[in-house]
């Protein structure tokens, strides 16, 4: 079933054209990288603030309020460009274990983002960041770095992408 959908995606004329033309294929990569840098950068700064390692004089809620829109906007760009690249070779990715690891780690990282986003206002009002907040921020940092490692391992270990 899933394999069937992957085959259909890959054979879709629009998807094949966008991945088969050099400048659109390069364009997808450029958008994917640039949005990844903003996504991971903005999220790491929020996490580091929760850990007390950046901008201690800045209000955590305010800093998070400024950065979270960029986290979600860049995630949207990152997802769309990533999905289009995946679709271009969907059948190969379907058979690629490292790609599943990458997607799994990213889903966990997004879950951590949601937790931090929902709780940061409450944490910011406390006299000190609670241990649970620091743990969540620490996990979020680990997951995003893990996502980058998994991301570079997909082509390195499997030759796909």
């Amino acid at each position: 079933m899933l394999l069937h959908i992957c085959g259909w995606l890959q054979d879709n004329a629009f998807i094949a054209a966008i991945n088969g033309t050099a400048w659109t294929a390069a364009g997808l990569e450029i958008v994917h990288y640039f949005s990844m840098f903003i996504l991971v950068g903005a999220m790491l700064i929020v996490d580091l603030r929760v850990l007390g390692l950046v901008g201690r004089r800045q209000d955590a809620t305010q800093l998070a309020g400024l950065l979270f829109p960029w986290v979600w906007i860049s995630l949207a760009f990152n997802f769309v460009s990533g999905f289009l690249m995946f679709a271009g070779s969907a059948v190969s990715y379907y058979r690629n274990d490292v790609f599943y690891d990458k997607i799994g780690i990213i889903l966990l990282a997004i879950a951590a983002n949601i937790v931090v986003h929902q709780k940061v206002r409450k944490w910011g009002q406390l006299p000190a960041m609670p241990a649970s907040a620091k743990l969540a921020a620490f996990i979020s940092i680990g997951l995003w770095i893990g996502a980058i490692i998994a991301g570079v391992e997909v082509p390195a270990l499997t030759g796909v992408g």
Partner: protein, 156 residues
């Protein structure tokens, strides 16, 4: 000459020959870039007025200063190691030469100017037009840096 010498250093041969080292070095480069590009362009976006309402008393550029340069140092370290693996090829690649010789110096110069002026710009009740122009310019230059980097394999 230099390229040949560099890519035959033991550390470069080590990275080139190991299945794991190269992608890990890539991941280091990308993690550094996330911190550097993320912290740099978020200041640019805020100069353009995005998300400014909620952060009138936020000295973003100052707050991010240390991590901004930590990210840069990590990115340069990872980037140098990636370069050293096939230095000779990179040194004749037009996209790489444009990235390293033109775009990165331009981006850095702009970035340092913005970093010096940002506290004054952030304090002003109305962001001056020059700040917005500088912010857009820096965003564009780093976007071009990423573009040149992606084009390296195409230009080889």
């Amino acid at each position: 000459m230099f390229g040949h010498w560099l890519q035959n250093r033991p550390f470069a041969l080590e990275i080139a020959g190991s299945e794991w080292a190269y992608p890990i070095v890539q991941a280091i480069h990308f993690t550094g870039l996330s911190i550097w590009v993320g912290t740099s362009v978020i200041v640019d976006f805020s100069l353009l007025g995005a998300g400014r309402k909620s952060s009138t008393s936020l000295h973003l550029s100052e707050a991010l200063f240390i991590w901004n340069w930590i990210g840069f140092a990590i990115a340069v370290t990872g980037g140098f190691l990636l370069f050293s693996v096939s230095a000779e090829t990179y040194l004749v690649n037009l996209a790489f030469l444009t990235k390293l010789g033109l775009l990165i110096p331009l981006g850095l110069a702009l970035h340092i100017v913005i970093q010096q002026k940002a506290p004054a710009w952030e304090n002003a009740s109305e962001t001056p037009r020059i700040a917005k122009v500088a912010g857009i310019a820096e965003l564009l230059v780093w976007f071009c840096v990423v573009t040149a980097a992606v084009l390296i394999p195409y230009a080889g």
